[in-house]
């Protein structure tokens, strides 16, 4: 989960509280694109990993992160989540290889279903 808002971490942690408690998912949080890449490089990414990333962040944007991840770790699905849901950005994100594009406020029921299916929107 990549988001510069610290409360986003809290929100996601609480939303997936049950699943985390039951050991169904493991969450790793990064506050920027660089932090996320460092995290990916430092640990061998698990096979069923899904990246949820914000777009507007200080430093490198979510789209840049998406591009790099897609290039270096093509197997990892990246779901973009943003408040600026204009069609143009969505087209660009999908063009860069995003697995899905979600708008804030996030509908967590949909997100849960998406994550359960491995990040790929059906």
């Amino acid at each position: 989960m990549v988001d510069d808002e610290p409360d986003a971490v809290t929100l996601f942690r609480q939303q997936f509280r049950k699943e985390i408690r039951q050991g169904e998912y493991r969450f790793a949080f990064a506050a920027s694109a660089d932090e996320a890449l460092a995290l990916l490089e430092g640990t061998a990414p698990p096979a069923d990993m899904v990246i949820l990333s914000d777009i507007n962040m200080p430093g490198r944007s979510g789209l840049e992160l998406l591009a790099e991840v897609h290039e270096r770790w093509p197997a990892i699905p990246v779901v973009m989540i943003t408040a600026y849901g204009d069609p143009d950005t969505e087209t660009r994100a999908l063009g860069l290889g995003a697995a899905a594009f979600l708008h804030k406020p996030v509908e967590f029921a949909a997100l849960k279903a998406l994550v359960r299916s491995g990040g790929r929107a059906e």
């Binding site: 609480q14 069609p87 143009d88 804030k104 406020p105 996030v106």
Partner: protein, 534 residues
């Protein structure tokens, strides 16, 4: 004039004739008198001489015989009396016997009696009155003759006058009148060498000059008329140009106003977008955490339910009440957060860049669809909502180039406002007396289409009308409206489609919004190009 001249001529001729006649007669009368007197005197003298001797012989011895001899004088006319004096101062022998009496010097003829003695003489008195009578008779004859001659002369003069003066003058006058009144140049045919002929010749020359001048004047007049025409054309053209310029100026002003307004709206839109985005993120957290907390509360409830059940009744009720209040409060947070979210979504719509897709749009179809949407929306909100809908859709309304989704938003917004306004009025009017009615009319206007939305609702007061299209301005109670509907509609119609949005209203009577949309809008095309480029 002719008559006066003729009379003057006659009078002059008469006067001259009279003077000449008078002079002739005076001279003639004098001569005649002298002649008659001379003849008479000679006759008397002859007779006197012939009688002198016998008279002288008889006078002494036989006066009666002498008197008889004197009686011969009675044979002469005009002799009144004769006195024969044989001596210078002896008594005369007289005929008639009474004699002449005293002598009248200068009147009586004194004639010497030759052969009767040196002193012998006659005194003879002539009847001058008779003489004058004879002379008067002569004079009358003379006057009659003179008159006859005069009349003949006058007649001749009149004929001459007629021939040499009157006729050419009349001809001249007629020619002048013809020229003056009928404007027909007529030359005078009079070729004598006298003054009249000269006048006629000069008149002809003058006429020729006048005709030339008239022709020249006519030419000038025509030229002037042409100039006046050209001037009129020029003036008309100038007026047309001025009107065009004024129209252009008015258009420019309108365009400037629109630009200023658009600029204002654009900067306001940018500001709104910025503010909305900044608020949207924290608001998302509020909403997310609120709904999450409700779920967590629910979970908490299931977790602590067994524990709560073990509490005494009072504490259990208290715990239950607290949990319910907490849930209700979280519900309120979610509800108001949702409201704020809707406002922000509207604000973002107001300022967003991409207006959807531009396409050919059937106006009547769009109107019907929007009306259906608005009506069902209103019914869903209020089950007892009722309104009389009237549609006057012009079959010639046809299609326009535009953004159908955006226009639908405008129409739904206007219809919803109308529904709200009639509802407001119905709340105030006595039941049954008021039938809420909405009339929607489409109208083909050549290269534009007009849509009129008319309702008989509460109307718009003048104080409100000015602020009608101002963002965030609303007359609805808090929570009922965002104050962005009409502002957004104005932007869509005017800025996006290059149309107009006008309003007419009378409080508690009606409100009518009129949208005009150009069939092909340059502004809409620009917006479309801008969209494609971004």
């Amino acid at each position: 004039m002719r008559r006066t001249l003729f009379l003057k001529f006659l009078a002059l001729t008469l006067a001259i004739g009279a003077v000449i006649g008078a002079v002739i007669m005076v001279i003639h009368a004098g001569q005649r008198r002298d002649q008659m007197m001379g003849e008479l005197s000679a006759e008397v003298a002859t007779l006197a001489t012939r009688l002198a001797r016998p008279l002288a012989a008889e006078a002494g011895e036989n006066p009666v015989r002498a008197r008889d001899l004197l009686g011969v004088f009675a044979g002469l006319p005009y002799v009144i009396c004769v006195d024969f004096f044989p001596t210078a101062d002896g008594p005369p022998v007289s005929w008639p016997p009474i004699g002449c009496g005293r002598m009248r010097a200068g009147e009586d003829l004194m004639i010497p009696a030759l052969g009767a003695g040196p002193e012998a003489h006659y005194a003879i008195r002539l009847d001058r009155d008779a003489l004058d009578e004879i002379m008067w008779g002569d004079f009358v004859v003379l006057v009659a003759l003179a008159l006859a001659v005069g009349i003949a002369v006058l007649l001749a003069a009149a004929i001459v006058f007629q021939r040499i003066i009157n006729r050419p003058l009349r001809q001249l006058v007629r020619a002048m009148t013809r020229f003056e009144v009928e404007n027909v140049p007529e030359r005078v045919d009079w070729k004598t060498t006298d003054e009249i002929g000269e006048v006629a010749g000069r008149y002809n020359a003058m006429l020729d000059r006048e005709v030339d001048r008239v022709a020249e004047l006519e030419e000038r007049r025509e030229e002037l008329a042409r100039l006046v025409d050209r001037l009129g054309e020029a003036r008309d053209a100038a007026r047309l140009e001025r009107d065009k310029a004024e129209q252009a100026l008015a258009d420019l002003k309108a365009a400037q106003d629109r630009l200023v307004q658009a600029e204002k709206m654009a900067s306001l839109g940018q500001l709104t977008a910025g503010v909305a985005h900044e608020i949207k993120n924290p608001l998302n957290f509020v909403n997310n955490f609120a709904s999450l907390s409700r779920e967590l509360l629910e979970e908490l409830q299931t977790v602590i339910d067994p524990a709560v059940a073990t509490l005494d009744e009072d504490a259990r009720d208290d715990a239950k009440d607290l949990l319910e209040t907490l849930d209700m409060n979280l519900g309120k947070v979610a509800e108001h957060g949702g409201r704020a979210d809707r406002i922000i979504k509207n604000m973002l719509l107001h300022s967003r860049q991409g207006p959807g897709t531009r396409s050919r749009t059937e106006v009547n179809h769009l109107v019907e669809e929007s009306l259906g949407l608005a009506y069902h929306g209103a019914r869903a909100e209020k089950r007892d909502f009722q309104i009389h809908l009237v549609k006057h859709l012009d079959p010639a309304a046809g299609a326009i180039d535009g953004y159908p989704q955006e226009l639908q938003r405008v129409l739904v917004n206007l219809f919803s406002n109308s529904f709200y306004a009639v509802g407001e009025r119905r709340g105030r009017e006595p039941a049954g007396g008021f039938e809420p009615t909405l009339t929607v009319t489409t109208e083909d206007r050549g290269d534009a289409v007009a849509i009129r939305v008319h309702d008989n609702g509460s109307g718009i007061p003048d104080s409100v009308r000015k602020k009608l299209f101002t963002p965030f301005f609303t007359t609805k109670p808090p929570g009922d409206g965002t104050g962005l509907g009409l502002s957004l509609s104005h932007d869509i119609v005017v800025k996006q489609h290059g149309g107009t949005l006008d309003v007419a209203s009378e409080p508690d009577s009606f409100t009518e919004f009129t949208i005009t949309l150009p069939r092909h809008s340059a502004e809409a095309e620009r917006a479309g190009t801008a969209e494609a480029a971004s």
